[in-house]
Symmetry: C2
Subunit: 472 residues, 2 copies
């Protein structure tokens, strides 16, 4: 069995913790592990990391690598989508990868899962996995359905038909319903939420793809390289629409564990531990006569007074305060921010780079201050700025600093000045992380004032260098 | 006539904007002027700044001076209370100052006012002033009373007696009532809130003081210097308790203008301009389907979603979110913070010093970063730190930096390193403000790691140097 983890999504529903450049699957919400890490752990009792394929896009590769280190699963495969499409192309691409690169046979079972759900207890989920494998091996497309406990209008529904094995034949898939319809489904019973988790054999998958999406099938039955090259021709379509809703071979397995796709701050509140007043509190906060509140603080002290059913989420650059039940409107907020081309919508104050990360600590008239953390052995691009000078102060670790022709070692508490228009580069010459405070001075301090002569891999090919976003 | 402005109060009811080191009278709430500045302006149509005496304490002298510059009233007198007592000693001290220093005669009228009220329109207030002078000159103690528009339990009440001139003889003063009593007062009519504003002649004041507080009278009928020397013996008592409530000579003038002592965030909401949904918004904020909210943002983006009757006040280090009607509980919050000896209760990230100000921009493992602004010609103390080094980077202006025996000039974009245990001092050698970024590095970065060899006035007397709070 191979596990296909879909980790390319960039949702905005958990803004301000999630940003375009740091989506939900990387958030730590109900534990000290990210949702992706928890997803990987969930399967580790059944398969080795080497049997997992994590499908993501170029922007998230570094974040995924960090998670693999954290979950001690470095052997897991990272498959990068050439362009963002929907789940059907992503799954097909992963299946192709399993055949070409991992040498999977026709009858090998693939289990497809999103990377950003919360599921517990794992034991019950493992039982579902076993059931799914059995059904998939009889060439069925297995989908996992969640028994509804409320008339949700945000999910697609599956109407169960005749019992089959540990599941049911699928009578039909239903679009996201309106409130009344959802209530009718709930009252009638026999309806399940579509979890977006599937299981099938490679043969079963290809057979149904051929039957229902010839175009996608044709693009999939080539080589991995061809598929990658032609990925832009892939239809932007979900696996549900492309196959599941049309196929006669779909079986629905009732989900045994507790499940949440935590698609809003309201949903986050539900999964978190609460005090006796129903307050779920994280960070440096104090509640005076508050009940049923959510407070997630990251960067400063937060006090609530006489609040009821209020959600407060705080980061270094944004505070969102929402009435409980209204948090799905965070989407509107993010669209509005994007419409005003506000950086907050896309990026945190901390930006992850292939060599480490940097955090904008402060900025004001004529200066900008960053904390730069360079991982051991890593090096930044050889660069130059027209409008700003930089003062680097080593807080911990050992830096190798290039300024013009000069190369020098800088140790804790030592500093160097980099004048405007001087070619410079920063390298971690030590074995631990290198932490540097950078004080930029100048009349213009935009990230776009940067000329790269050599990228972080020492490549001078300008086109390849272009691939790297702005940043130190 | 002389105006006595009581500006020594350190209220915590408008936390987090007000702090012990930066109380309400210095806040800009409903305009680009602080409450103290507005108070000074209020009298400037009738008297010159030289006729105003601002009573405050040592901690606020710099802040008051800044306000006097802002309101172009540098000739106003600043009288510093040796120790914090209540209003009776403060007023007596100011009266003594008017006699000894300003050479006032017995029959000169004194008008006493708090520095942190909002009053408009000024014209109506000016009319009250005229009325007060007339009554005071017949040796009455004049108190201004506010006609209640709600059953407030937070104010003392005055029951009006027989009409006298443009006011009424006072039947009696009433303690802060409970809700029921307050409602009864409101229904009955003829009750007024005690505004804390008074007018009297020097003779009238001394006469009533002698009659009702012999101890205070004795301490007041000395010289200013003696009074200052014996100030610790002053009873801690308000002018209301000491004199107004006992005297037969008190007249109450109904207040003609709109008045607010803005004693809570609820009260601030009332005086601010609102949009069509009743939202009072300041700073970088976005409200989605919110009504009757207050948002005061200082340092970052704040979004509200589906909120109603919610107050949000944000500073660089603290966020307070309160249900409207509950904001008086901010007091409990501040007490709690003080009980936990949290710095936030007393100080802002920006700290005002005699030489200028500094702002803590950021701090983390092994470093702390400050922005230091030194006013023209000002100099910091000659100091030394055992545990931290400092890197100074000049952002604008010209610095004269002493390091050990060495003295050097530092210009924009230049930097200097100050090792642990090196004697150093910073001076603004230019004509404009000097802005420096200080990056502190070391294992211990507490403000108390400082040894001062010479204070900012070049004094080496350790006892006098002790007077200066910690800080750069």
């Amino acid at each position: 069995m191979k596990i296909i983890i879909l980790a390319g999504g960039g949702g905005s529903r958990l803004f301000p913790l999630s940003r375009t450049s740091y989506p939900k699957q990387f958030l730590k919400l109900n534990s000290n592990k990210s949702l992706l890490e928890l997803t990987i752990d969930r399967f580790s009792t059944l398969v080795k990391p080497a049997d997992m394929v994590i499908v993501t896009n170029q922007d998230y590769v570094q974040l995924v690598k960090t998670e693999l280190i954290a979950s001690n699963a470095l052997e897991a495969h990272i498959l990068v989508e050439p362009v963002a499409r929907n789940t059907a192309p992503a799954i097909a691409f992963a299946v192709r990868y399993c055949i070409d690169t991992l040498g999977c046979e026709e009858d090998e079972v693939m289990f497809v899962t999103p990377a950003d759900h919360i599921i517990s207890p794992v034991e019950k989920f493992t039982t579902n996995l076993g059931q799914a494998v059995v059904l998939a091996e009889s060439h069925k497309i297995v989908t996992l359905g969640i028994k509804p406990d409320s008339p949700e209008t945000g999910y697609g529904y599956i109407k169960a038909g005749q019992p089959l094995g540990s599941g049911f034949k699928v009578d039909s898939f239903r679009e996201k319903p309106d409130r009344a319809t959802a209530e009718a489904y709930l009252a009638a019973g026999g309806y399940y939420w579509n979890s977006g988790m599937f299981a099938f054999t490679i043969a079963g998958f290809l057979e149904e793809l051929r039957a229902h999406r010839g175009d996608l099938y044709a693009l999939t039955t080539t080589s991995l390289e061809e598929m990658r090259a032609n990925f832009t021709q892939m239809p932007n379509i979900s696996f549900d629409y492309a196959v599941a809703e049309k196929s006669e071979q779909v079986v629905m397995l009732p989900f045994l564990a507790e499940w949440s796709d935590i698609g809003s701050w309201d949903a986050v509140y539900e999964v978190l531990e609460k005090d006796t007043d129903g307050n779920a509190l994280q960070g440096d906060c104090m509640q005076i006569e508050c009940s049923n509140t959510l407070v997630l603080g990251q960067s400063r002290f937060i006090a609530g007074i006489g609040l009821e059913d209020i959600l407060i989420v705080e980061t270094a650059d944004v505070i969102v305060v929402a009435k409980k039940g209204e948090s799905q409107k965070v989407k509107e907020l993010v669209s509005e921010l994007k419409a005003n081309s506000r950086l907050e919508a896309d990026e945190h104050m901390t930006v992850y780079r292939p060599w480490g990360l940097y955090t904008v600590l402060s900025s004001g008239q004529g200066f900008k201050i960053k904390q730069i953390v360079v991982n051991p052995g890593k090096i930044l691009s050889l660069q130059m700025h027209y409008h700003r000078s930089e003062h680097w102060i080593v807080i911990s670790g050992t830096a190798e600093v290039t300024t013009g022709a000069d190369i020098q070692s800088l140790h804790e508490n030592e500093s160097v000045f980099i004048p405007q228009q001087a070619r410079h580069r920063l390298k971690n010459a030590g074995s631990g992380p290198l932490v540097v405070i950078e004080v930029q001075t100048g009349s213009y301090l935009g990230e776009d004032d940067i000329v790269r002569f050599e990228d972080i891999y020492g490549r001078q090919d300008e086109d390849r260098v272009k691939g790297f976003a702005a940043g130190v």
